[in-house]
Symmetry: C3
Subunit: 202 residues, 3 copies
C-alpha cells in the first residue's frame, strides 16, 4: 500500500507544521520546535503503539524524522519570508492528516484482532493524542478538550472504517477518509460545535 505510506508521511509533515507554528508563537528556540513538531506529528501513533504493545513505528523507519525536519525547515523559511500564515489552508490540510491517522490507527487494531470499540479508540488516539500532548507541553489547555467537532469527526471516521473493513479494506479506507475529511471541512466551514456540558456551579 504504497500511496498510503506517502499519505501517512504527508499527514506527519502537516502535523509537524502545526507543532512548529505553536513553538514559534510561544517563542521557543530550535529545540523546542523540534520537540513540539515531533510530538504533534508522531505522539499519537507512539501512544497507540505503546498501548497495543507493538514496536513503535518510527523507531525502525527514520524517514518519519526526515519528514518532520523538512516540515520544520519549510515552516521556518516560510515565516522568514512571508508576512502571513495561510491558516485556512492549514486547517484543511490538517483535516486530511486527521483522516489518514484515524484509519491507520483503527486498521492496526483490527489487524491485531481487537474489538471494533478498541479499534475506534485507537484511530481516535492516533489522530488526536499528538496535538493533545503538544498542547500540554506548551502549557495550553488542550484545544481538543474544548473545541468543536475535531475529535468527533475522527470518531465518526473510525466507526465507518470498522463497519466497512470486514467487507472490503480499500473501500473502508477511502470511505472513512472521506467521512472524516468532509465532516471536518463542514465543521470548519460552518463553525459547528458540540454542546458543552451544561454549565452549573459545582
Amino acid at each position: 500500500m504504497s500511496w498510503f505510506y506517502f499519505a501517512d508521511l504527508a499527514g506527519v509533515a502537516v502535523f509537524a507544521v502545526a507543532g512548529t507554528l505553536l513553538a514559534f508563537r510561544k517563542e521557543m528556540d530550535g529545540f523546542g520546535a523540534i520537540v513540539l513538531a515531533s510530538v504533534t506529528a508522531i505522539g499519537g501513533g507512539t501512544t497507540r503503539d505503546l498501548i497495543l504493545h507493538q514496536p513503535v513505528f518510527w523507531v525502525y523507519d527514520p524517514v518519519y524524522f526526515a519528514a518532520i525536519f523538512a516540515a520544520i525547515i519549510f515552516t521556518a523559511v516560510w515565516l522568514r519570508f512571508k508576512a502571513y500564515i495561510p491558516l485556512n489552508q492549514l486547517l484543511y490540510a490538517d483535516a486530511l492528516g486527521l483522516a489518514i491517522f484515524t484509519v491507520i490507527g483503527a486498521e492496526k487494531a483490527l489487524q491485531l484482532e481487537l474489538s471494533p470499540v478498541i479499534a475506534v479508540i485507537m484511530g481516535t488516539m492516533t489522530a488526536v493524542f499528538g496535538g493533545m500532548l503538544r498542547d500540554v507541553l506548551a502549557r495550553d489547555i488542550p484545544m481538543i478538550l474544548k473545541k468543536d467537532l475535531y475529535a468527533t469527526t475522527t470518531i465518526a471516521g473510525g466507526i465507518v472504517f470498522v463497519l466497512i473493513y470486514p467487507w472490503h479494506e480499500q473501500v473502508a479506507l477511502l470511505v472513512s477518509i472521506m467521512t472524516t475529511t468532509c465532516l471536518r471541512f463542514a465543521a470548519i466551514r460552518f463553525q459547528w460545535s458540540l454542546p458543552v456540558l451544561k454549565k452549573k456551579k459545582i
Copy 2:
C-alpha cells in the same frame, strides 16, 4: 476472583465520575469528558502495564469502557436533574477505588516476582497516576502533589499488602483494602495533612 473484578469495575466507574466532574467544571465538551473520565479511570493501570512491559489490561476487555461510558452518562444525567454534587459521598467512594487499585497494582508486580519495593510503587502508581494525568490535561497542578495524605494512604496499603501477601493472598487483599480505606476516611474526616517541605526562599 470474581468479586474482585466487579470491585475493580466499580473503582473505574467512581474514578470516571471524578474525571467527568472536572471536565464539567472546566466547561469542556463531550469529548473532553470522555478523555478526562478515561484518563482518570484507567490512566494509572495503563502506566503500570506499560512500565511492567505487560499487555495493557483494557485493550483486551472493552467492559472497562462500558463502565466509563455508564459513569459519564450517569453523571451528565445527574447534573441535569440535581442541583448539588454529593461531594462527601464521592470522596468516600473514591477512597474505596483507591484501595482497590492499590492492591491490583501491587499484586500484579508480585505475580511477576518483582521486589516488594517495586510492588508498592506499582500499587501507588495504579492508584494515583490517573488522577495526576487528568489534572495535567486539565491544566491544574496535580492535586496529588500538593494535598494531604492521599498518596500516603495508598503507600501504606501497598506496604501492608506486600507484607501479608507471602503468607496469605486473600487476607492481604482484605487487610490492605481496609488499611487504605480507613486511613483515607480518617484523613477526610479529620483533615490530616503531611507537613510540606520547610518553606524557605530559593
Copy 3:
C-alpha cells in the same frame, strides 16, 4: 562496566536533587517531592525503554530508587540546616548527569542495531525528557523548550558518540561525555543561547 553503573547512579541522584528542589519551591509535600525527584531522575530512561520496547531499567533494579531516596533525604536535610543552595555547583553536576544519560541512551539504541539518527534521539530523550516531564507536572512551561543550549549539548554529545562508537566503544563513551560536559560548562559560563525563532505576530 562497573564505573559506568556508578556514574549512572550519580547522574540519577543529581537529577533527583533538582526535582526535589523544584518540589520544595512549589511548596509540595513529601509525596510531591518523591514524584518530582523520580520523574526527573528516571523519566527520561523510562520513556526511552518504553519506546525501544525494552524492559524498563529500574523495574529490575531497585537500587535506582535507593539513590533517589538518598538524594531526597540529603536535600531535605541540607535545606533545613543551610541557608543557601549551591546553584552553580548543581548546574555543573547536572551537566555531568546530562552527559552520562546521553551516552547510556545512545548506546542502548546502537546495541539494538537501530540507525544512528534514532540513537541520537534516544540519547537526547534519556537526557532531557525527565526534566521536561517534571516541569509539566509542576506546571512550568518546560525549561528545556525555552532555554539556552541545554538540549543542543546533548545532541552534540550523541552525534559524537554514534560517530566514534563503531570504531571504539570506550573512546566513544569518554569523548561523548567530555563533549557534552564541556559544551554545557561553556554554555553556563558564557550564558550562550540559541536564537529563538524569529518573533513575528501570528
